[in-house]
C-alpha cells in the first residue's frame, strides 16, 4: 500500500494506482481527454496535469503511478492556468464552429472549454481551410480532421480492441494527423465500420453519417408507409440517452415513442433474429450432415455466424480464404428488410414501392450493410435507412417527446413477435445460445440440458469463450450426430475474432460453430450505442438483456408463432428456394489495407 496526500487529504491506495484513480477515491475529478477506461494510457493531451510538490514540472495524472509520501495538488493556480492554456492550445488547432457541429452539446472538449471559461482567443487559430479536411466517402463514418485533437483514442481503439488498425498516426509535428493507409478515402480502406472509434472520440472528428432528415422526410410523405424495426440491443441502451440509468430496459416506451414520431408500422428485428436462428441452425445441421455423412469436401466447417456486418467486412479483408465458412444467412436487419417489402407488403396489401424501411440499430456498420449491392433481393433497397440508437434518441428529443413519462406500448403485427432467444442476440454469446436452444431440440427432440435454458458457459465478457455440448439421444433422422461433441467458440471484439481465426487457420481447434461479434460485449456495446459505453455500462446492459429473455413467455426461436406462420404462409421450409432468394447472401474478397 502507498500513502500520499491529495489537496491536503491523506489516503492509502494500492501500488500501481495512478494519481487520477487515487484522486477519484477522494471525490476529486481531474479532467481528461485522451484517457479512456477501455484503452491503454496515452498521456498525450495533458489536460489532466497536476502539481506534485517538489517536482519542477506538472505531471499527467492519468499516466503517473502514485509513490510513497507523494503530495499532489489538483487545483493549484499553476495547474488551473496550465490546464486553461492546454485547452486553449487544443482549441487553436480545432475547428470550434460548435453550433454547427453534430456533437454540439455532447463534446468533451466543448464541456472542458466551458468548465474552464475559455473565452478570449490568446492563441492564433491554425485551422484555416477546414472544408477540405472532411472525409464523407464512407456509408457509416464521417471523419473531420479539422475537429481532431490527436488524442489517439480512435487509433488505440482500432488497434487494441479491434486489431484492425485502419487508423494510424501519420506525419509529425504540426502536420501530424490521424490517417488511413496512404490517406486513402475511408470507403476504400480496411475499416470495418464498427464505429467503436466514434463511440470514443471526445470531439466531433469522428461521427456517424446520420440519416435523421431522410427519415423525417419519409415520415412526412403521405404516400409512404414507413416501417421501422428495432434491434435487440437498442431497447436496453436507448434509455441512457434519454434520462434513464444504464441497464434500464425501455422496450415499451421505445415503441410508444416511435409511434408518436409517426412511423406507420413499428416492428421488431427480434422477429427476424428468430428467423435467423431457424435458417442458420438448419444451415449448420445441413453442413454437419454434408461433412459427416456425405463426406463432401466442398462444404466448410466450422460455420461462423454472419449477423455482425463489422465482422463480415473484417473477414472479407483479412481472412478471405475463410469466406466459405461464413453462414450465408443475411443478418436479421437484412432479412427483415427483404421480408418487409415482400411478405409484409403482401399481407398488408401495400405496394412495396411505397414502403420505406427504416431500422434502429446499435451499430454504424449496419449503414454500410444496408447499402451493399447484394441487399436488394426484394427488388428494392431492402433497408432504406439505418439509424443508430443515438440518432433515434435525437429524433425523440426533436419530436419533443417526454420519453421518461411515456406509457408502454406493444409492437405491431405481423413481424413484431419475438422469443427470448432473439432478445439475447444483443449480447455476446447470445446467437450461440439461441441457436443451441433450437438446434439441440431439433436433433434430440428434447430441450438443451441447461437449467432454465440458460447456457451459462457462452455468456459473460471473456474475450473468447469455448463450450461443448455432447449430443445424445438423437431422433432417427439425426442418428449420425449421436455422441458427437459439438464444439463452439464465441468471440467479441475483432481482436478476439482474430485470435479465434488464427486457431481455425492452424486447423487445430476442431470447432463446429463459431459466433463472432465485431464489438466488445456484442451489439450491446455497438458503435452506434449511447456515449459513453464502457465495461461497467456494458455489464449493466447485458444484465438487462438476460432479464428480458427470462421474462419472455416464449424462450425458443422455433416456438415463435409468427415464425411458424411465415414458413407456412410464405417461405415454405427453412433453407427453401425462396428463403435462399430472400434471406441468404454471398460475400466478396476485399483488399488488405
Amino acid at each position: 500500500m502507498i500513502n500520499l496526500t491529495i489537496n491536503g487529504l491523506e489516503l492509502e491506495v494500492d501500488k500501481g494506482t495512478t494519481i487520477l484513480e487515487a484522486a477519484k477515491k477522494l471525490n476529486f475529478r481531474i479532467p481528461t481527454l485522451c484517457h479512456h477506461q477501455d484503452l491503454c494510457v496515452a498521456g498525450n493531451c495533458r489536460v489532466c496535469v497536476v502539481e506534485q510538490v517538489g517536482n519542477r514540472t506538472l505531471v499527467a495524472a492519468c499516466a503517473t503511478p502514485v509513490t510513497e509520501g507523494m503530495e499532489i495538488n489538483t487545483n493549484s493556480l499553476s495547474v488551473r492556468t496550465s490546464r486553461k492554456h492546454i485547452i486553449e492550445l487544443l482549441l487553436s488547432e480545432h475547428n470550434a464552429d460548435c453550433t454547427k457541429c453534430y456533437k454540439n452539446g455532447e463534446c468533451e472538449l466543448q464541456s472542458l472549454a466551458n468548465e474552464y471559461s475559455v473565452g478570449d482567443h490568446i492563441f492564433l487559430d491554425l485551422i484555416v481551410d477546414h472544408k477540405s479536411m472532411i472525409d464523407m466517402s464512407s456509408a457509416s463514418i464521417i471523419k473531420d480532421d479539422s475537429k481532431c485533437i490527436r488524442c489517439l483514442r480512435c487509433v488505440r481503439t482500432c488497434e487494441e480492441l479491434q486489431g484492425v488498425h485502419a487508423l494510424a498516426v501519420a506525419n509529425k509535428g504540426s502536420e501530424q494527423k490521424i490517417s488511413s493507409f496512404f490517406d486513402k478515402p475511408w470507403r476504400e480502406v480496411i475499416c470495418t465500420n464498427c464505429g467503436q472509434c466514434i463511440n470514443r472520440c471526445p470531439t466531433g472528428a469522428l461521427v456517424e453519417r446520420n440519416n435523421i432528415e431522410d427519415v423525417w422526410n419519409a415520415i412526412l410523405d403521405p404516400e409512404k408507409h414507413v416501417v421501422v424495426q428495432t434491434a435487440p440491443a437498442v431497447r436496453v441502451s436507448l434509455g441512457e440517452a434519454l434520462g434513464f440509468e444504464a441497464g434500464h430496459t425501455v422496450t415499451g416506451k421505445m415503441v410508444s415513442a416511435l409511434k408518436r414520431i409517426g412511423f406507420d408500422s413499428v416492428l421488431d428485428t427480434d422477429f427476424t433474429a428468430d428467423l435467423t436462428i431457424i435458417e442458420e441452425g438448419t444451415e449448420l445441421l445441413t453442413r454437419l450432415k454434408d461433412v459427416l455423412v456425405n463426406k463432401r469436401d466442398d462444404v466448410a466447417l466450422p460455420l461462423t455466424t454472419s449477423c455482425s456486418p463489422g465482422w463480415i467486412k473484417f473477414i472479407e479483408h483479412i481472412y478471405p480464404d475463410f469466406l466459405k465458412n461464413v453462414s450465408t444467412c443475411k443478418s436479421p436487419q437484412q432479412m427483415f428488410g427483404a421480408l418487409a417489402k415482400t411478405y409484409f407488403a403482401q399481407k398488408r396489401k401495400i405496394d412495396p414501392k411505397n414502403i420505406v424501411s427504416v431500422s434502429i440499430m446499435p451499430c454504424t456498420a449496419k449503414k454500410f450493410e444496408a447499402n451493399r449491392p447484394e441487399m436488394r433481393s426484394s427488388g428494392f433497397k431492402d433497408v432504406d435507412f439505418v439509424l443508430t440508437t443515438r440518432e433515434l434518441a435525437r429524433m425523440v428529443r426533436q419530436a419533443g417527446i417526454d420519453f421518461m413519462r411515456l406509457e408502454d406500448v406493444n409492437y405491431d403485427s405481423i413481424m413484431g413477435e419475438s422469443s427470448g432467444a432473439s432478445v439475447i442476440f444483443g449480447a455476446t454469446g447470445g446467437v450461440m445460445e439461441a441457436a443451441l436452444r433450437t438446434a439441440y431440440e431439433i436433433v434430440t427432440g428434447r430441450e438443451v440440458p441447461f437449467k432454465n435454458l440458460n447456457i451459462i458457459p457462452v455468456r459473460g465478457m471473456k474475450g473468447v469463450k469455448e463450450a461443448s455440448i455432447k449430443i445424445d439421444g438423437c431422433t432417427d433422422e439425426w442418428k449420425f450426430l449421436e455422441g458427437v461433441e459439438l464444439k463452439c467458440a464465441v468471440a467479441h471484439g475483432l481482436v478476439n475474432a482474430r485470435e479465434v481465426m488464427e486457431k481455425v487457420k492452424k486447423g487445430d481447434a476442431g470447432y463446429h460453430f463459431i459466433e463472432i461479434m465485431a464489438c466488445p460485449g456484442g451489439c450491446l456495446g455497438g458503435g452506434g450505442q449511447p456515449i459513453p459505453t464502457n465495461s461497467k455500462i456494458r455489464a449493466k446492459r447485458a444484465r438487462a438483456i438476460y432479464d428480458e429473455d427470462m421474462g419472455k413467455p416464449i424462450r425458443k426461436s422455433h416456438e415463435n408463432p409468427e415464425i411458424i406462420q411465415v414458413y407456412k404462409d410464405f417461405l415454405g421450409t427453412p433453407n427453401s428456394h425462396k428463403s435462399h432468394e430472400l434471406l441468404h447472401t454471398h460475400y466478396k474478397e476485399r483488399n488488405r489495407y
Binding site: A168, A170, F181, R592, Y593
Partner: protein, 154 residues
C-alpha cells in the same frame, strides 16, 4: 511475382518478420528504390502481418523515408537558420535554375529531386546540402554548379 514484392520478401527474409524490423526494411527499400510506393508498403504490411496504415504511419513520420516519387539523386538543402544566414537561398536558386525544378519537385527523367531539409548538423560549415547520403558543405554558387554538373554526367 512483381519486382517490388520480390524485393520485400528478400528483405523480410534478411531482417526478420517481427514488428521491430519494419524500419530497417523500409530504409533498405528506400535505398534501393529511392522512395516507398503504395504497393511496396502493402507488401511490407502483408509480409510482416501488420496493418498497412501502420506501415504508412511509420514511414510518413520519418523525413528520409519518402512516400512520394523521388529521383535517383535526392538533393536536400538545409533550410535551418545558420544555413539561411549564410546564403541558402542563393544555393537553392542555382539548383532550381540548373535542374529546372522547384523545391519539392523531381526532374522529368527522374534523376533529381530537390527538397529543403531541417538541420543536418553542418551549421559550422554552412550552407550545406545532402545528395542522398553524401554531405556537401561551405557551398557557393560556383561550387554547387560544379557538383551538379558532375552528377548530371553520371
Amino acid at each position: 511475382m512483381p519486382d517490388q514484392e520480390k524485393l520485400v520478401k528478400e528483405l523480410a527474409d534478411k531482417h526478420g518478420r517481427k514488428r521491430e524490423f519494419l524500419l530497417p526494411i523500409l530504409q533498405e527499400l528506400v535505398y534501393e528504390k529511392n522512395y516507398l510506393t503504395d504497393e511496396s508498403m502493402r507488401y511490407v504490411a502483408k509480409e510482416l502481418n501488420i496493418s498497412a496504415a501502420d506501415v504508412y504511419g511509420t514511414a510518413s513520420f520519418y523525413t528520409f523515408l519518402d512516400t512520394e516519387l523521388r529521383g535517383k539523386y535526392v538533393i536536400r538543402v538545409c533550410k535551418t537558420i545558420s544555413c539561411s544566414m549564410k546564403g541558402k537561398d542563393e544555393i537553392l536558386h542555382v539548383i532550381c535554375d540548373t535542374l529546372k525544378i522547384d523545391v519539392g519537385e523531381t526532374t522529368l527523367d527522374k534523376k533529381f529531386s530537390l527538397l529543403a531539409t531541417n538541420c543536418i548538423g553542418w551549421c559550422h560549415k554552412a550552407p550545406a546540402m545532402l545528395i542522398n547520403d553524401i554531405p556537401f558543405i561551405e557551398l557557393t554558387p560556383s561550387k554547387v554548379t560544379k557538383i551538379l554538373q558532375d552528377y548530371i554526367k553520371r
